[in-house]
Symmetry: C2
Subunit: 371 residues, 2 copies
Amino acid sequence: MACPYPLHRRQIETILLAWGMPEAHAARTADVLGWADLHGVESHGISMLVEYDMRFRAGRLKMDPEFKVVRETPVSILVDGGGGMGHVAFAMAVDAAIEKAKVSGIAVASVRNSSHFGAVGYFTNLAAQAGLIGMGATSAAGIRVAPTNGAEARLGTDPWSFAAPSTDKNPFLLDMATTTVAYGKIRNKMNENVSMPLGWGTDNEGRPTTDPLDVTRRGGFMSPLGGTPEGASYKGYGLSVMVNILSSCLSGSTLITDPMHTKKPKGFDIGHFFLALDPKLFREAGEFEADVGTLCAALRSTKPVEEGKPVMVAGDPQWKMAEERLRDGIPIGKGLRAKLIAVAQAAGVEWLLDGLDSEQAAQGRPELAGS
Amino acid sequence: MACPYPLHRRQIETILLAWGMPEAHAARTADVLGWADLHGVESHGISMLVEYDMRFRAGRLKMDPEFKVVRETPVSILVDGGGGMGHVAFAMAVDAAIEKAKVSGIAVASVRNSSHFGAVGYFTNLAAQAGLIGMGATSAAGIRVAPTNGAEARLGTDPWSFAAPSTDKNPFLLDMATTTVAYGKIRNKMNENVSMPLGWGTDNEGRPTTDPLDVTRRGGFMSPLGGTPEGASYKGYGLSVMVNILSSCLSGSTLITDPMHTKKPKGFDIGHFFLALDPKLFREAGEFEADVGTLCAALRSTKPVEEGKPVMVAGDPQWKMAEERLRDGIPIGKGLRAKLIAVAQAAGVEWLLDGLDSEQAAQGRPELAGS
């Protein structure tokens, strides 16, 4: 069963409102989380409400934080997220950087004293929709990744995103953790009782393993992109440190290697980074977008390894998914559904996502234009 | 046998001068190539003269190009490299971006109509030495990398570099091809007659292989970082496209997927990208550098997998190498030495690097300060 996007998004919004989030903040946060589910980034959508609910009950989710612009120039903005959720704090910084880049050609935003903000691709896509190149990154709360040749977790999944406008219907949109895979993929292999490819993780002594239980149950670690020292994991590790430098060192947030990371009274103190760049600094209007479109089309035309499995470019799977889900609705698995119903009940709001059939889902569609 | 750095650098310079390069250009190009050898990036140092010599004899190396500033704003510069070698064209753009970033807080440089410029880490390190964050990238001449799920080469090694100043003696310096490994590593496995790790390359149908001959002799391809679809090579592939978008689409250089790539009469038409960012947009003087130093120190203190093989951060192996080579000189292997002697002879310049012993090497050292 799948539910139409507008209802899905509205369910997120009603729970946030019930937790005491101001209306404008709840609307934007629901946009960010709903976008993730719509585009198939399910790890960063409505499922996050289960985690947020735990934080909310633990008194660790400030629903009405005071955002402050700490520093500002024509090419930069530094926002203090007030110890709240990250979606709206980051959106405020991103929106400002986009406006500044439209005027100055380039602008950079930094956010400190924030927390989880959803999928970074939502934000770099905003830049691309405005005709700009977008780069985004954030430091992480969870410490799960061992550096190359290391036998201790020191880093997070530390995502990096890059978006560029294109004459294609949709932008080029890369949104990647700097680990080989997401933790959920390792957990899924454990649940299926099968081994995982070498390079996804290590045992608790930092040695590459194919047993998912080494990571999930025996104190092992996730691996940086590249997977093993032989596979050049120092590159994924280096990108992860780059993300931490841009997100934490630049904003003045607590370093992930600091013993007080996520433990300070003021909140999670996660840092974010964003950059917007106008191609018209270098090209005539439309030339850049045409080149990106041409490059992506050439890559898609590459002879495939397997017939019927065409070469794609970053973003293609997400745009295709969004098209399908706008038409057919967004599915929620049984296990997650039960957890979300409990979250809604605890918040005292109505559960809106009870299995609609596809006709009802279709009826939900027209609302999207106004959302 | 190893030769002192100043002599090594001087040998590069004499050959470039003999080819007709203006003095100032030859000095800077020798700095860039010498830096690479000094820091152990041997693929991008004096060994390049063998390749350049072939291009020179083929009339494809313009030694006295006219560089033009095509567009300029307080935060950007676009340089036309005049179809010449890339080192000085890129250096001109990088130097300008660094000066602009010191004033505006951030600046971006783009170069078109250029060619190979050496190691991108040389340039991002310049930003870090000036107290700025540096990002750099370039498109490539060689087409050797198949996209994820592709059975044709479409991309190059497409390097990305990121540098950040630190309270450490040296900056954080990541300089990486977006492929799993350099082509030379695959060739070395072939020469040793041993298999290579899965993820370094594919056969000519795009299927992962451990036989280096599949890549070097049977028409196979290099793999993007991640190595295989299961190892998330779409991330390395995505980074490679990002590098092409920033280097080629932004500058207006010929796309690597264009049939006329490197074949246009005006030259190789390779594009480069550089960005400089002043941390003082967000932090008080010294705070950012202190955080980078603290982060790197914490990472180095990670419990290692193998005793005696400590965890490093990006740049550490290069700084260590430079210290050793400043002291002991720069070695050149027999095979390369023979080729370089032929290049020097063809250029009609003296061969300066005849096996000095370590005492002579030590005597060469004082010259460095003035170089």
